[in-house]
């Protein structure tokens, strides 16, 4: 059977490839998303003190190190059985929001904007952030500034932009200073201006991406995200909830090790990324999505004024939940707006300068779970220690794993819509990559790939002759 291979998928985090099987008529039969390396963090941490985990686990990912730092520290809080001081919790929330801001800005402006601005079918040599700099300098400058804002908050609080420290088991290592707070607050109006302007621009573009909206992983699934009593947007505190495509609650109040009753992990023979599924429904029907789209479908309100206005408009896209994964981009911008507004509220709270920021304790539990909403979705760190506080085993369930079923199904949907086997064009294949980009996968997070083989798409006839060939 003729096979198209796209390798590597570019402008995403980590390495992967896609294979598309065609039938004898040149129609797409099946398509698979393969992740091609694993680093084994679940094993390499074995025997190390649990207090080392936040710094070690942050190295899972250079885009969202703070998410792993936070989830890991929460798991350690659980092992110590401490309730961290309120100021510490607020400071951690600011870090999480800054992380969401910079990561979403990277996804939108650096990785996906080249498709929106220069076009899905544009010259692949120019279709990147430097191409955007050359042709749309103001947009590029805005994107750089917005990501820089998020990174600066992380640097101000955590000491550096990539792999910051500061967040520790029990809280944070030292209090925030008034000058640091003021420096961040001073940058907020400009960050909000950029986000609002990007939102306005993107909303104006949606009409020209009708075909992508229709075919980019657009199907009913369940959604998983963090929930709380207020039903406001929640990224740090709360429990896990599954809802269906009609917004009915399917499972609720999932905390600690409960996740194991609801989330199953299935291995694949052709990908280092495991597939996560809703256990009660099994690996076929148990498909669900996480991340910005899931969170905006889940919450009833954002909880900040400007983001709430945007959320109301977003909700009008569809009658129940918003189902097209193309709208992940839109949801990401709304989440940036929310994050900046929420940071502002937290920083204006006088308690944020409180001096009590860390709880101290020895291990009191042999097991701990930390759950967090990372930029790409629900992140779970789960550790078990021995009586000396050394790690016996660890399991991490990561956003891209949750989305693996939907990404695979989305790749097939896009391939069927756009890849016509008679004559291959690079724009067709770029759309297959673009649906993956919509999910903003982070492959370093659960596995890590290396297979950067040259792209060589061959279209073979039934008797194996090369009918068409695309090389980049």
């Amino acid at each position: 059977m003729p096979t198209i291979t796209i390798d590597p998928i570019t402008r995403i985090e980590g390495h992967s490839k896609v294979t598309i099987q065609l039938d004898d008529q040149g129609d797409v039969q099946s398509a698979r998303f393969h992740v091609t390396q694993v680093r084994g963090f679940e094993k390499l941490c074995e025997g190390r003190p649990f207090t080392e985990m936040p710094a070690l686990m942050a190295r899972i990912c250079g885009i969202c190190p703070t998410s792993h730092l936070l989830a890991s520290s929460k798991a350690c809080d659980d092992i110590m059985a401490v309730h961290i001081p309120e100021t510490a919790e607020k400071l951690r929330r600011i870090m999480n929001l800054a992380q969401i801001t910079q990561s979403h800005a990277l996804s939108f402006f650096y990785l996906s904007a080249p498709d929106f601005l220069l076009g899905m079918d544009s010259d692949p040599e120019e279709r990147n952030i430097l191409g955007v700099v050359r042709k749309f300098p103001q947009m590029a400058r805005d994107g750089i500034k917005l990501r820089q804002f998020g990174q600066r908050v992380l640097e101000t609080l955590g000491g550096k932009r990539v792999h910051p420290g500061w967040i520790v088991p029990g809280g944070v290592s030292h209090p925030l200073q008034a000058e640091q707070r003021d420096a961040i607050l001073a940058e907020i109006p400009e960050a909000i201006r950029i986000t609002r302007s990007a939102l306005r621009w993107f909303k104006g573009q949606i009409e020209s991406f009708r075909a992508e909206v229709r075919a980019f992983a657009n199907f009913p699934t369940m959604f998983l995200a963090m929930a709380n009593d207020t039903n406001e947007f929640s990224a740090y505190n709360g429990w896990l909830r599954f809802i269906d495509a009609n917004l009915n609650i399917v499972a609720d109040h999932i905390t600690g090790t409960d996740y194991m009753n609801y989330i199953g992990e299935s291995c694949n023979d052709d990908s280092y990324l495991k597939t996560t599924y809703f256990k009660p429904l099994g690996p076929q029907d148990g498909i669900y999505r996480v991340g910005p789209l899931a969170r905006l479908n889940m919450c009833q309100s954002a909880g900040t004024p400007q983001a709430d206005e945007e959320l109301a408009e977003f909700r009008e896209l569809e009658r129940h939940s918003v189902l097209s994964s193309f709208y992940y981009h839109y949801a990401r911008l709304i989440e940036i707006l929310f994050s900046i507004e929420r940071m502002q509220t937290l920083l204006n709270d006088p308690e944020i300068l409180g001096k009590n920021v860390r709880a101290h304790a020895s291990p009191n539990n042999f097991e701990g779970v930390g759950i967090l909403e990372a930029p790409r979705g629900t992140l779970i760190h789960h550790y078990r220690i021995d009586q000396n506080g050394l790690i016996e085993t660890a399991n991490m369930v990561i956003a891209t794993g949750h989305n693996n079923l939907a990404i695979n199904r989305g790749v097939l949907q896009v391939a069927r819509q756009f890849v016509k086997g008679k004559k291959l064009e690079q724009g067709m294949l770029n759309r297959v990559e673009a649906v993956i980009r919509a999910f903003d996968p982070c492959l370093s997070c659960s596995t890590h790939a290396a297979g950067e083989m040259p792209l060589d798409i061959q279209l073979l006839s039934v008797d194996g002759e090369i009918v068409d060939r695309v090389r980049r």
């Binding site: 390499l44 052709d270 290396a450």
Partner: protein
């Protein structure tokens, strides 16, 4: 190829077995990226859509260590096609975190991930995916490296300084400003 293009330096960036943090630190040069856009052609990178590692690359920055058979193949190709190879960050320079798995037999690492921590279809992937090496290696164990820039990640200032110096045709002096870890 236009005349303007040929006068620009041909730069590539690659990540092997790392976390992408060094690439994020590269992006942390912020507005200086706009300066670079005029001076370089980014001919290959996870940030651009080129799929083939090209020939005649002036400078390649490589993040991450060598962990699979494909990494091995790749780094040799990069070396062959690159004038100046820069080992970017602690994983490339020492093996760092990825090499921590080397203290366990590979079979035990795979067993943890694909048997103990899986619910169904327990199996180690073998189709389509590259094969992991028993031992993770830094770049210089396999190829000659011209410039070492340690750090986890190296700071944006150091990365920008290294690129700027190389664009001017000088070897960057990094011993005073770069260090391992932070």
């Amino acid at each position: 190829m236009t005349k303007a293009k040929t006068t620009k330096a041909r730069i590539a960036t690659v990540w092997l077995d790392g976390c992408s943090g060094c690439h994020m630190s590269l992006l942390d040069i912020d507005e200086r990226l706009i300066l670079l856009a005029d001076k370089i052609d980014l001919v290959y990178s996870p940030l651009v859509d080129a799929k083939d590692f090209p020939e005649n690359v002036d400078v390649t920055l490589v993040e991450g260590s060598i962990s699979t058979d494909e990494d091995l193949h790749k780094i040799k190709l990069i070396r062959k096609n690159t004038k100046v190879l820069l080992s970017l960050g602690d994983c490339a320079v020492t093996g760092n975190i990825p090499s921590m798995r080397t203290v366990f037999p590979l079979a035990e690492v795979m067993d943890r991930v694909y048997h103990e921590n899986a619910t169904i279809n327990r199996q180690v992937p073998t189709k389509v995916v590259p094969t992991l090496l028993e031992r993770v290696m830094p770049l210089h164990e396999v190829v000659d490296v011209d410039v070492y820039l340690p750090g986890c990640p190296p700071s944006a200032d150091n990365i920008f300084m290294a690129i700027s110096e190389l664009l001017e045709g000088r070897m960057p002096e990094l011993t005073l400003t770069a260090r391992f870890g932070a």
